[in-house]
């Protein structure tokens, strides 16, 4: 391959982030905005995982038949992976809260269009 897989993975993460921000800012439908936000979080997670990756390395689990120095030289960096585990859970829970808010707002306005719910009405100064 011409491009190595780590660089390609960074590009994938970057495109997910760009797609996510685009969807969150420019799509009108609230569900789609939130799908975009989920992609944004996925992209950031992928970015962090890719940072910990080591080309030609091994998984960061010390198996009984490995020597410590061999492990230390070849294992991928486990700190980013620990961060991502936390972030996946945070992402899923904020997603649930946002979708819950949308269900309530749909009952009130009969619509899930951002321009109808959050547009002029939401900003109106009373």
């Amino acid at each position: 391959m011409i491009i190595d897989s780590q660089l390609m993975s960074f590009f994938t993460a970057g495109s997910l982030i760009v797609i996510g921000i685009f969807a969150a800012l420019f799509l009108d439908n609230l569900i789609k905005k939130i799908i975009g936000l989920a992609f944004l979080a996925d992209g950031v997670n992928l970015f962090i995982i890719t940072m910990g990756y080591k080309a030609g390395g091994i998984v960061y689990i010390l198996l009984p038949n490995m020597t410590i120095s061999n492990f230390a030289q070849n294992a991928s960096y486990p700190l980013p992976f620990a961060l991502v585990l936390t972030n996946i859970v945070i992402g899923a829970s904020t997603l649930a809260v946002m979708l819950g808010l949308i269900i309530v707002l749909n009952k009130k306005h009969g619509s899930i269009s951002a321009s109808k719910i959050l547009g002029d009405k939401g900003e109106k100064i009373e």
Partner: protein
């Protein structure tokens, strides 16, 4: 080689999910980038994150979206 295919599936799946007019389809399609990212994590030497992502990204998140769509409305409305 397979990781390149997965990366392309991830990006295309994300774009296709956002292009659907039927929101239920869009909700289910969010599982495709989710599961391919999970496989990608396996290739990037993070098996434990891959397990979590496989459950969250391919099952929980699409189900959340599908439930939200079923409780609100199925189609995207025209912006006016």
């Amino acid at each position: 080689m397979i990781e390149y295919v997965l990366m392309i599936i991830t990006v295309l799946g994300a774009i296709i999910a956002l292009m659907q007019r039927d929101l239920l389809k869009a909700a289910i399609l969010t599982g495709i980038p989710g599961i391919s990212i999970a496989f990608l994590y396996q290739f990037l030497l993070a098996p434990d994150v891959a397990l979590t992502q496989a459950i969250v990204g391919s099952a929980i998140v699409p189900v959340f979206f599908a439930l939200a769509v079923l409780k609100t409305r199925r189609t995207e409305e025209e912006a006016d």
